[in-house]
C-alpha cells in the first residue's frame, strides 16, 4: 500500500459505493456488510476521488469552497482523512 501524497490521484476502491441517505441527509459510503456516514466535507472529498484529480487539485478546489480556512489546514485534514480511508481499503492512492 503506497501512502497518499499531494501528487496522488486517489480513486474510490472497487468495493465502495457512495449513496445519499434520505433519512439522515448525509452521504453513506457503503462497502461489503458495512457503511460509513460521511460528514459533508468527507463527502466532498470522496466525490472528487475519481482518479482524475490530484490531491493537490482537490485541496485547491475545496480550499476555495471552505474559504477563509487556510489552504494548509485543508490539505492537512484531507491528507489525514484519505490516509485513514486508504488504511481501511476504501480509497486507493492511484500510485500503485
Amino acid at each position: 500500500m503506497s501512502a497518499i501524497t499531494a501528487e496522488s490521484r486517489p480513486t474510490l476502491a472497487a468495493k465502495a459505493r457512495l449513496r445519499w441517505d434520505r433519512q439522515t441527509s448525509r452521504y453513506l459510503l457503503l462497502y461489503p456488510e458495512r457503511g460509513l456516514v460521511l460528514n459533508p466535507t468527507a463527502a466532498d472529498v470522496v466525490q472528487l476521488c475519481t482518479g482524475e484529480h490530484t490531491v493537490g487539485a482537490i485541496v485547491d478546489r475545496l480550499a476555495a469552497k471552505y474559504a477563509p480556512q487556510p489552504r494548509e489546514d485543508v490539505q492537512r485534514e484531507i491528507l489525514a482523512f484519505l490516509g485513514r480511508m486508504a488504511e481501511r481499503g476504501l480509497i486507493r492512492s492511484g500510485d500503485e
Binding site: 500500500m1 476502491a13 472497487a14 468495493k15 459505493r17 449513496r19 441517505d21 433519512q23 453513506l28 457503503l30 462497502y31 461489503p32 456488510e33 457503511g35 486508504a86 488504511e87 481501511r88 481499503g89
Partner: protein, 364 residues
Amino acid sequence: MSEEPRPYTLVAELTYRCPLRCVYCSNPTDWNRHADALTTDDWLRVFREAEALGVVQLNLTGGEPLLRDDLEQLVEGARRLDLYTNLITSGIPLARERLARLKALGLDNVQVSIQDVTAAESDRIAGARTFDRKLEVARWVKELGFPLTLNVVLHRDNLDRVAAVIALAESLAADRLELANTQYLGWALVNRRTLLPTREQLDAARDVARAARRRLQGRMEVLFVTPDYYAEFPKACMDGWGRRFLVVAPDGLVLPCHAAHTLPGLTFDNARARPLAEIWRHSTAFGAFRGEAWMPEPCRSCDRRAVDFGGCRCQAYHLTGDAAATDPACSLAPAHALVEAARAQALEPAASLTYRTARVAERA
C-alpha cells in the same frame, strides 16, 4: 433505548434449497418444510418497502440464491433502488456468462464460500465435489471486476490451517476474508461434538489472523469472527434483536434473525400479508426481545446489556429451552455450565458427521 430502530440490512433468503450439504449449514434443520413462496414481484416489493424503511444493504442469500431463475431481475430491481447488493453464494451452479450478466445489472459484491484449502477436505465438509469449481468462480469474480469476499467457516478440522486459508485468499486477490467460526445453531448444533475446536486451536488461529490483518491492511480486510463458546461474554447477536437487520425467509416470514422461526411461542408475520414497515414497528415478534424489558437477571442489572443485548435468543432457546434466558455463552449466565460441558467435549475424539439432508435432523 431512545432512537427509533432502523434496519440497515435486508437479508433476503431467496430459497433454502442448495446443492451442497454442509455439516454446519445455518439453515433450519426443517428447511425442507419451508417452500419458496415469494414470487419475483413479491421480492421486488419487499426490497422497495425495505429501502423505504432505511435499508441500504441487501444480502441475497439462501440456501443457494443462484437456484432462483429470477436472480437477474432481483439484482436489477435492487440496483434501481440503489441498494448495495451482495450475492452470498457457494458458487454452484454458476456459469461465467451469468456472473457477467449480474455484473452488468449492477451487483456490487460477491461472497464465495469455501470449506477448506484442499479439495478433499473442502468437499468432505460440503458433502459434494465443489472445491475446484468454487476456486474457478472466485477467479471469475475478480476477472469481471467485482470485489471478492471469501468466506470460510472455521471448526476443529480446519482451524489449524488458517495460515493456508489466508494464503489462498491472497492468491485469489480477495478483498475481504471472513474467517467465521461456526455458530452452533442449525446443522452446526447437530454436529457440535465434532466441530467445536479446543481453546488452544482458537488462540493460535486468532494470532495468525491478527498478524495477517496487520500485514494486509488496506489490501485485504481480514475478519476473524470469534466463537462465543470461548468468549467471556456473548456477541451482540444481529446487533440486537430488531435493531439493524431484517431477514425475510423463503416462505416470506419476516424475522429479526435467520433462525428466529425456530423459537416457539412467537408468531411471525409474512411479507405477503403485511407491509414491512408495520411488521418492523408493530409486530409482537419484533417487539418480543427489543430493548431491555424482557431481560432476566443477571442481564437486567448488567453493565454490558447495551453492548451485547443479552446475547443470542436462539442460542438461549436451543441450549436451555427458554428463549428469554441469558445466553449460556455468557460466563455470568445461570446455564453457562452447558457451554462448559460442550467445551469439554472438544477434547474428546470426534463423532461422525451428519450432513444437511431434507430429513429433519435429530439432536446428537
